[in-house]
C-alpha cells in the first residue's frame, strides 16, 4: 500500500483560531473553559463550556468573516464555518492549492461531524411551529447536513476527488483521518483534506448531554478546573467546540513537490464495543482491540509507543481506557507518556479526534508531550506517566491517538516521525 504523510494542519479550538497559537497556549497550560455567556444557562445543570474565542481575528481570536462571506455564514450552522477555517489553514500550511484539473480530481475531502447543525434544527423547528412550513428556509437542510462541511470546503477550493463524511460521535475526527488515509493508500486520491468539526455549545445540546449525565456539573463556579481527566474529583466532560483539519498526502507526491512533512500516518484501527449506547464496555476490550489493530497496521510493538493522546474525557470512563492501555503496553507501560488534552480544550465531540491527531503530530515535531491539566490526585495508581500539570520534553517518535464514541465506536491512529 502507498504511504501517507501529514503535510498541512489547521484548527479552530477553544484556545485559539490557528494551530500555532493553540499549541502555544496548550503547552503554557491555559484552559479554554469559561462560564457560558451568550445564551441562558440559568436552568441548565452545566453552565460552563470551552468556547472558541470570538474576536476581530487578531491575537488568535476567531473572526468568522475571515473564513466565509457573511451572506454565506447566515445560511449555515457554525460547524461549517469552523471547518472552512480549519481547511483553509491546512491547505495554506501544506501549500497545496490545486488549479489543474488533474490535481483537483486527485484531491478529496473527508470531514465529519458528530451531530452537525443541531442549533439550526432547534431554531427552525420553532419557526415551523410558530409560522408554518412556508417560513422554513431553503438553506435549512443544506446548512445543517453534516457532509456540507466537506461540501463547502470542496466548492471553495475546487477539490474534485472523493467527497465523503464520517458520523461516529466522538470518534468522528479520528475515523475521518483514518479513512482518508486509506483512500490515499488504496489510490483513490493523492491528497485528502480530512478532519472533524463541531458546534455543540448551545442550549439544546447542553441539555441533551446533561440528560445523559455526561457533562461536568460540579465546577460551574470554577470552569478552568472542570476538565480533570484521571483526577479523583472529575465528574463529567466539559463541552468544547471547534474543528481540526489535516492535509494528508501520498509520500512520493509530497516529496515530489518538496512539501514539508510533519509525520507519517502509519496505523489506523477500528472496533465496536457492542455493549451500550453511551457507556463504554467496562472491560475496555473495544478500546484495547482498536489500539492493537492500529499498532499492527503500523508495524510497531506496544513498547515503541512514546506518547498516547488519550480519549480521556474526564468521566468515569477514563479508568476503562487507562486499564486498556496498561493491558496494551504490558511491562513497557512505564516508558510511555499519556495525556488528555481535553483537560485544556474540553471535549470537541466530532472534532476531538482530529484536533488531538494534530496535537499528536505536533508532539512529534516538537518532542514534547502536552500535559494533563488539573490532575492533582489521580483516582487510581498506574505505571503510565500521565504528564500531570506540566508538559514534558521527551523523545517522541511514535504516537497513538485514541477516540471513543457513543454507540461503542472506537478509533485509534498511529503517527510516526518520518525518519524514525
Amino acid at each position: 500500500m502507498r504511504r501517507v504523510v501529514v503535510t498541512g494542519l489547521g484548527m479552530v479550538t477553544p484556545l485559539a483560531c490557528g494551530v500555532e497559537p493553540t499549541w502555544r497556549r496548550l503547552l503554557a497550560g491555559e484552559s479554554g473553559a469559561s462560564r457560558v455567556a451568550h445564551f441562558d444557562v440559568s436552568d441548565l445543570p452545566c453552565k460552563i463550556a470551552a468556547s472558541v474565542p470570538r474576536g476581530d481575528g487578531s491575537d488568535g481570536s476567531f473572526n468568522a468573516d475571515d473564513w466565509m462571506e457573511p451572506k454565506e455564514q447566515r445560511k449555515v450552522d457554525e460547524f461549517i464555518v469552523f471547518a472552512m477555517a480549519a481547511a483553509k489553514q491546512a491547505l495554506d500550511d501544506a501549500g497545496w492549492h490545486p488549479s489543474s484539473y488533474e490535481d483537483q480530481i486527485n484531491t478529496g475531502v473527508l470531514i465529519g461531524s458528530g451531530i452537525g447543525g443541531i442549533e439550526g434544527i432547534a431554531e427552525t423547528s420553532l419557526v415551523m411551529k410558530e409560522k408554518g412550513p412556508r417560513r422554513v428556509s431553503p438553506f435549512f437542510i443544506p446548512g445543517r447536513l453534516i457532509n456540507l462541511a466537506g461540501g463547502y470546503v470542496s466548492i471553495a477550493h475546487g477539490l474534485k476527488g472523493p467527497n465523503h463524511a464520517v458520523v461516529t460521535a466522538c470518534s468522528t475526527g479520528a475515523h475521518a483521518i483514518g479513512d482518508a488515509g486509506r483512500l490515499i493508500a488504496l489510490g483513490d486520491a493523492d491528497v485528502m483534506v480530512a478532519g472533524g468539526t463541531e458546534s455543540p455549545v448551545n442550549r439544546l445540546a447542553l441539555a441533551g448531554f446533561a440528560a445523559c449525565k455526561a457533562l461536568v456539573t460540579a465546577f460551574n463556579d470554577d470552569p478552568t478546573h472542570a476538565s480533570r481527566p484521571y483526577d479523583k474529583d472529575r465528574d463529567g466532560f466539559l463541552m468544547g467546540e471547534g474543528a481540526g483539519v489535516v492535509v494528508l498526502e501520498e509520500l512520493e507526491h509530497a516529496k515530489a513537490r518538496g512539501a514539508k512533512i510533519y509525520a507519517e500516518l502509519t496505523g489506523y484501527g477500528l472496533s465496536g464495543d457492542a455493549f451500550h449506547i453511551t457507556a463504554p464496555s467496562p472491560d475496555g476490550d473495544g478500546a484495547f482491540r482498536c489500539m492493537s489493530a492500529a499498532l499492527k497496521r503500523a508495524g510497531v510493538s506496544a513498547g515503541d509507543v512514546d506518547y498516547i493522546n488519550a480519549h480521556g474525557t474526564s468521566t468515569m470512563a477514563d479508568e476503562i481506557e487507562l486499564r486498556a492501555v496498561e493491558r496494551l503496553l504490558g511491562n513497557t507501560a512505564a516508558q510511555t507518556s499519556m495525556s488528555s488534552t481535553k483537560s485544556s480544550i474540553g471535549h470537541l465531540l466530532g472534532a476531538a479526534g482530529a484536533v488531538e491527531a494534530i496535537f499528536s503530530v505536533l508532539a512529534i515535531r516538537d518532542q514534547v508531550a502536552p500535559a494533563t491539566l488539573n490532575l492533582d490526585n489521580p483516582s487510581v495508581e498506574t505505571p503510565i506517566d500521565l504528564v500531570p500539570l506540566k508538559p514534558k520534553a521527551r523523545k517522541i517518535d511514535v504516537v497513538l491517538s485514541n477516540s471513543f464514541g457513543f454507540g461503542g465506536t472506537n478509533a485509534s491512529l498511529v503517527f510516526r516521525r518520518l525518519d524514525a
Binding site: 462571506e69 457573511p70 451572506k71 412556508r134 417560513r135 428556509s137 431553503p138 438553506f139 443544506p142
Partner: protein, 78 residues
C-alpha cells in the same frame, strides 16, 4: 421612490450581501446580484414576511428582478 421600493431594496441588499447602490430596479437577482435559485426562494419568503402577504409559487416564478418584486408588492401587499 415608494416606501415599498425602499424596503424591497433593503431586503435584497441584506439577503444577497450586495452593495445597496447595485440594487437597481432593473437588476436581475440571478444575473446581476449573484443569487442562485435557493437565494431567490429565500428572498420571496423574506418579502412575504416583511409585507405580511403570500406570494404564490406561480407568481414567485415571474419575480426575476428588483423591479418585478416592487411591482408585485405594490399591487398585492396590504
Amino acid at each position: 421612490m415608494s416606501d415599498i421600493a425602499e424596503r424591497v431594496k433593503k431586503i435584497v441588499a441584506e439577503h444577497l450581501g450586495v452593495e445597496p447602490e447595485k440594487v437597481t430596479e432593473n437588476a436581475s437577482f440571478i444575473d446581476d446580484l449573484g443569487a442562485d435559485s435557493l437565494d431567490t426562494v429565500e428572498l420571496v419568503m423574506a418579502f412575504e414576511e416583511a409585507f405580511n402577504t403570500e406570494i404564490p409559487d406561480d407568481a414567485a416564478e415571474t419575480i426575476l428582478t428588483v423591479g418585478d418584486a416592487i411591482k408585485f408588492l405594490e399591487k398585492n401587499a396590504a
